[in-house]
Amino acid sequence: MSDKNNMTLNLKIWRQEGANVKGSIVDYRLEGVSPDMSFLEMLDLLNENLINQGQDPVAFDHDCREGICGMCSLMINGQAHGPERETTTCQLHMRKFKDGDTIVIEPWRAKAFPLHKDLMVDRSAFDDIMSAGGYVNVSTGNAQDANSILIGKDKAELAMDAASCIGCAACVASCKNASAMLFVSAKVSQLALLPQGQEEASTRVQNMVSKMDDLGFGNCTNEAECEAQCPKGIKISNISRMNREYLKASVTAHH
């Protein structure tokens, strides 16, 4: 049974019926996995089998399955979005695994992300942080003529890099302190780097950091595991930028 187009996997999946129920790791043996399947398609196959057997399918988050929506999650063998760098779980393919492999699948774990069911967690804490200041209030009207606001190429690139954050929370999941600093710093940076974001820069960073702290995320210890496991390759230089934006706002802002 070592046909390379037909793998058999030993899955160890976190099952938990609801938020306040005790969960545990449950073993499943899954046959007929094609290396061309995505990781989520592999889980679809498992769920089909479970449904056919009259069992409860494994609940997991997913949406676009194109690597851009930030909805998929999963801690795969102890790494956020699995072993492949800069790749979301939906874009991770089973060819990265071998026939007979054991794969441990767990939900994101953080106090700020309460578990709904099985592998699904509530990431609305990120929405709360965004509501606290992750926007520009000034009315921008219609799209401007090109080059009416001059922005240097280097700044534009840095802002774009920060803006590529999809808010999946792999940073929180992979941080040993469950810190949300990489996410918040990307959102602070994408606006702080551009002229339109300058007006509210100091209130924004103070409000977003304050909300982040209130929600019970941990403190950053500069390990950079977040950067290493971010599917969009967001750099911790954004955290440094947020640190100085915050310091600047704390000592100079008049509010």
Partner: protein, 225 residues
């Protein structure tokens, strides 16, 4: 106003920044302490006179109070941050694997190396500052013979080993902490961040080797006293 100040001081970012500033100041102390200790290589009179001059200056009490506050603040804040960080993830992972590109041994063990340094610090004060009081006369001035105490203490290989092991823990702590302080303070640039990281490693090695050389010298030179 006061509540805003408290909120700022208790924010995750400023807590880290206070950790960074106190840590960097302690890094400065390590350098001055090491340079002073190097007078051991010059001889008993130079070392004892240096120590005597230091402790008979009335400003020493102020300096010691500042130094003790820095240590207590850095340790207390470190414990507080570690406890908060543990609370942020009440349910641990079954399997957790480092990516290989982020966490290092030094970064993953900061609270532990920190506690080793704390234990060392207490032990160090008991052994030396509050240790046996010998006296000697250099140039007609009666003073404490710390040199004799050092040679005596480091004539035991176990004491030398414990001291060096603690200095290795210190070096590991510094190799992450020194760079980390700059990152927390927002000092970051694609050109000079690699340079700061290199300086952090060199500084850590210099402190470990520098401080470890002293007990080794005392051990090897014990017959000469």
């Amino acid at each position: 106003m006061a509540s805003k100040l408290m909120k700022t001081l208790n924010s995750s970012i400023v807590k880290k920044q206070m950790m960074a500033v106190s840590g960097l100041m302690l890094c400065g102390f390590l350098v001055s302490h090491l340079i002073g200790n190097c007078l051991i290589y010059v001889g008993a009179e130079a070392f004892n006179t240096y120590a005597h001059t230091l402790i008979t200056n009335p400003l020493i009490y102020l300096a010691e109070a500042i130094l003790a506050s820095l240590f207590l603040f850095h340790i207390g804040m470190g414990i507080r941050l570690t406890v908060e960080n543990r609370k942020a993830r009440p349910d641990r992972y079954f399997v957790k694997q480092h990516s290989g590109a982020g966490a290092t041994f030094a970064s993953a063990t900061m609270p532990y190396t920190g506690l080793i340094i704390l234990a060392f610090l207490i032990y160090h004060l008991i052994n030396f500052k509050y240790g046996p009081y010998y006296t000697i006369s250099h140039g007609g001035v009666e003073m404490r013979d710390l040199y004799r105490l050092l040679i005596e203490y480091f004539s035991a290989p176990l004491n030398v080993f414990i001291y060096i092991a603690c200095m290795v823990a210190l070096g590991i702590h510094l190799s992450h902490g020194f760079w980390s302080a700059f990152q927390s303070l927002g000092v970051d640039h694609p050109k000079y961040t690699p340079c700061i990281k290199l300086i952090a490693k060199l500084y850590a090695v210099a402190m470990t080797v520098g401080y470890s050389a002293l007990p080794l010298y005392c051990y090897l030179a014990k017959g000469g006293y």
